[in-house]
């Protein structure tokens, strides 16, 4: 396999770094990360998937989507795009929200940088840096996940992730 998934957490800096290589040219990978109908096909661990409600891929625009399980939506998330360089990178502020995209008080958020570069063989490397910001995020980390954030459906998400783990 050539996927070379890298995942590193810098706990002191509250940052997560991920990188992944894909056997596709940068144009296609860019589309897969920025077009709603494509995102809906790959984001989310099985049997869960996401369903996009709003996608405005422009600076100041938002991407609002639901995490959907066999029994319907289990939680909503939104990303607000703060910088875009077409075919190269975009920045977003990511957080849990309600179905209207309104943020929930105390919801954890992260600033995400997603960077694309062409590599040998007409392939693409994607690098993601997530910097977690709010105290609530820290709390979420420190308390072992989504346990306490019932307001945002964290319990369901926790179950979702636990269910996913159980399959392996």
């Amino acid at each position: 396999m050539t996927n070379s998934f890298v995942f590193e957490a810098d706990m002191a800096a509250k940052k997560i770094y991920m990188s992944r290589e894909f056997n596709a040219p940068i144009e296609k990978v860019w589309r897969a990360f920025t077009e709603a109908d494509l995102l809906d096909k790959w984001v989310g661990p099985k049997p869960y998937k996401i369903t996009t409600k709003i996608m405005e891929f422009k600076v100041g625009g938002i991407w609002l989507y639901a995490m959907v399980g066999p029994d319907g939506p289990v939680g909503w998330s939104r990303a607000e795009f703060t910088a875009i360089e077409n075919g190269s990178y975009f920045y977003s502020i990511n957080m849990f929200s309600d179905e209207n995209g309104s943020t929930v008080e105390g919801a954890p958020s992260s600033v995400t940088e997603t960077k694309f570069s062409s590599i040998e063989g007409n392939r693409t490397k994607v690098e993601v840096v997530k910097a977690f910001t709010h105290e609530a995020t820290i709390k979420m980390f420190a308390e072992g996940g989504f346990k306490e954030g019932s307001a945002m459906g964290y319990n369901q998400l926790d179950e979702l992730l636990a269910a996913e783990e159980a399959k392996f």
Partner: protein, 101 residues
């Protein structure tokens, strides 16, 4: 003010103290001997670590010993592993999608 594990590990001195305590429980004096800082400074760091619950204190005889609490760190690991797995799975799905694109 609320303390959390991140505050515990955000400071280099506190990380060094944790490093010592991972090897075994110590009295505050024994910890302080490893540093150039004043005992008061070290004791303040230990207090923060205790408030974060990453260090617990136990009295043995007349001495107080500080112990590392690995459970607190494990919580972070579990969360991270879930997060990592979620993205790894999604990226694998993206491989398939890109093949068809």
């Amino acid at each position: 003010m609320r303390r959390d594990v991140f505050q515990a590990i955000a400071d280099p001195t506190r990380r060094a103290i944790l490093g010592l305590l991972v090897a075994g429980a110590m009295t505050p004096n024994a910890v302080a001997e490893h540093f150039d800082s004043t005992r008061q400074t070290i004791s303040k760091h230990i207090q923060i670590l205790t408030e974060c619950e990453i260090v617990t204190q136990k009295k043995t005889g007349r001495e107080i010993y500080y112990h590392f609490n690995p459970e607190k760190m494990k919580e972070i690991d579990i969360w991270l592993e879930r997060f990592r797995k979620m993205w790894e799975d999604s990226f694998d799905q993206l491989d398939n999608l890109l093949n068809d694109l």
